[in-house]
Subunit: 279 residues, 4 copies
């Protein structure tokens, strides 16, 4: 969090900076809490507007709340842009773009008719919550999780590729076994069924009726049941590794040998295991 420069109104700007971007002052915390509620309420209003019975009765309420939140978020966006020291960097950062997208859809509906498809973009506002949650303890734990996932991404890709190939071959087989009846009307649909089955979701809108089809389906289920162990195993071993690394890093500051510079000593070591100098 780089300090802003102090060209005009240096004091005011500095104070605003601490309120808007900071979290350590009382005003900064209040700002975050108000923003949190504004985001939650604006998303909730988008959700409820899609329920026919509610939207017909409270038509004007939704119209007003939509414009209220849009103007609020616009003011906030301009504020952030003007008080940060590096406006360009902010504008093109992940949260900068999300902040902009939170305001745009409502303005577009003024010019373009039928902008109802922008509803998805409006629900993206929820992502802004993570900006506020990006604090202390949560951030550290989230980094352990994302490191573990990043480290196992190659294995996860291979795994998903293998599962998808299995789904394609089993889907094609079932299309031929079950024929047009009982929902297996085309290969893509059968592949959809195979994925529904392997992942153990099991809607039941498509289900095999013949004895041969049910036997193959049983095989596929048992395979899916055993296969789910694979991503779990991968992520578990990576998380265990990530936890270990985090601990080592935390203790390594304390555990550096002043004599030879060796890191990573045990927590209760007294002598360096490399050169026997006292730690």
């Amino acid at each position: 969090m780089s300090e802003p420069d102090f060209k005009y109104f240096p004091r005011l700007r500095n104070q605003l900076f601490h309120i808007v971007f900071g979290t350590d002052t009382r005003a900064g915390k209040l700002f975050d809490i108000i923003l949190l509620w504004a985001i939650v309420l604006s998303v909730l209003s988008v959700m409820l507007e899609s329920v026919k019975e509610i939207s017909e009765t409270y038509d004007t309420v939704f119209f007003i709340s939509e414009w209220f939140f849009t103007i609020l978020f616009t003011v906030e966006y301009i504020l952030r842009l003007s008080i940060t020291a590096k406006p360009k960097k902010y504008a093109f950062s992940f949260f900068g773009i999300i902040d902009l997208l939170a305001t745009l859809p409502t303005y577009i509906t003024l010019f373009v008719a039928g902008g109802s498809y922008l509803i998805v973009i409006r629900s993206i506002r929820l992502l802004r919550i993570f900006r506020i949650l990006k604090l202390g303890r949560y951030l550290r734990e989230a980094s352990v999780l994302s490191n573990a996932l990043a480290a196992s991404r190659y294995k996860i890709f291979i795994f998903l590729g293998a599962v998808f190939t299995l789904a394609m071959i089993m889907g094609t087989l079932m299309y031929m076994i079950e024929g047009g009846e009982s929902g297996f009307t085309s290969i893509p649909r059968s592949i959809y069924w195979a994925i529904v089955t392997i992942t153990t979701v099991g809607y039941g809108d498509i289900a095999p009726q013949t004895v041969l089809g049910q036997s193959f389906a049983s095989m596929l289920m048992l395979m899916g049941y055993a296969i789910i162990a694979v991503p779990t195993g991968i992520v578990t071993s990576e998380i265990a590794q990530a936890e270990k690394d985090k601990k080592k890093e935390e203790s390594s500051g304390r555990g550096v040998c002043v004599a030879c510079g060796k890191k990573g000593h045990d927590d209760d070591a007294i002598f360096c295991k490399n050169c026997s100098a006292k730690l």
Copy 2:
């Protein structure tokens, strides 16, 4: 388990204390077993009363059993309150409140008509079983489990938050793709579908019908299938850690160095790793 004070009838009270709160005497064990059956039967009677065919035939049986158990639990509650040394502490403890809630609902139905909503409170009686199970071996294992869960609570929160955000965005997307047909009638309903799908429950009451919708659903399933690995990984690594800690603690009694007081030596260590004194 603090000993009660001995103001009046010190002998009787002391004996009762060992029967009601203790588990090491024969009478204490018998008391626990009778209580266990009373709880199970009272909960069972609440459950069966809700089945129309049964409740109509055995109307009076349920009425009698309900009052029998209520009076039994009331006597037990007063007994516990009067023989413990610290009645206030007991009354506001977790099990003290549960014990009180086990008796109240039936009395309230005397004064308030239509107290059928108190059925939930009555089924809470089941929680009292844990008081009886809170013995020896079970308690130790339960503490390992709850420690592991407590240690991973931040990661679990982040995980559930990420899953819920994913469900909201995918739900909104599917609402737009599938339209009003095939059950996706509003965004909240679509989010409900997304949660049903990610968690691999898959009722099938709402299921995509269009090709695009099925493709997106397949993606969501595969993501849910891979995502389930995350909480498993978190809890597994925490349980492994908790197990290790428990073992270290258990062995540390034996492994304390008499010379320097250092704990946590390996099981087969002969010399203290801290001061080299013989263990």
Copy 3:
């Protein structure tokens, strides 16, 4: 496998013993393979007899096959009983009882009409396969698995108890929220629904229709999704431990120090870590 005594026909009996109970001779292996097929075919015939279309056409085939397998298993049972050295111990062992149960049902149907309920007992014949599979490699691996499960049985009990309690409370809640409509007609049925949901099975024969009910159901699903991590974590950490123990045990034979008797040295250790004698 104790050697039989040699009172009468010592040679013949000894040979039969090696064929029937042993697996190291050619005849013993052949005996096992024939028995394996007899078991599989007899179970398959029981299964297929329950399919109406098949049983009506091949009525006599099933009758003959049933008596053929029953007599075969009876001969085998008598043979085992007569050649073993300790007939009583065999008769009351796990596999002794299974072997007897494999023959009884068919005889009972001679005297008792409508013995169709013995079908379950007949399908228990399948368990006999494990006797034949109880060989070498499989036995060792199975013991690792069963040790891990046995070691975590207390934790699994606590876990299942907690899940069941959660299902009861949530089931009672949903019964009150959803009312008689949409399948939640009684508390036991609602508990059944809660278990179907927590375990992520999700038949969809009972599914919430109200907004409040769907919100609670979503919560329950997310909890079930996170809860599944617990048994996995327990068993994983126990299997890892069991694997480690097995390895240590295997290497301990080789790794016993002749000087001090210390076990459990590393695989590549040359000197005893206890007394520094050469291993």
Copy 4:
């Protein structure tokens, strides 16, 4: 990747070898990318041809594309066969057979009417993608995964056997409890239901209706829920082991003792643990 011999046109052949089999030249990479797209498009065309509405409209497009890809793959197969140094070894290798199967089905439909069953073989073309993905990083990670699965194959077999036996016994029980109603019309069908339930797929096309049946089903679900922990535990502990082995092997190159040749020293070891020579 053995170098081809240079009998005729040694230069051209060598260049082609590097393009077709190699991946380190620019032409080789381009060849791989073109092939990747050809495979994906040919499989996609097979999938879409099975959708009635599409296949009726674009009849000729599918006919042309099918022959285009078949001829392309035939040319590629002949090319590979002619430029490799050991044509026989290639022809009977896993990918050699897959490459041949990718071309055959279309030719067979010329002579045999109704060769629509060859659709499965045509969808096997997708497997050829793995040849292209078999590169660097992916290959190494895939070998960790397949080693872990291979090491735990005995445990997985035992596990699947136990699950299947459980499904048979529970299926037979449910057939007797539920009778012909609610879908449990025969034992094989009930076993199918039991597998659908244990694996938590839960289609809901067959679901218990009686109270006793629902109680047994609940038990089966809870068992399935706890059982899923077993394969996960097995694979997790194997993957953790495989990861450790891989790391040890990678570091062992650096850690070989020049004096005695001992491998597998710790990362921070300075002296050989076998002969005490400096590393």
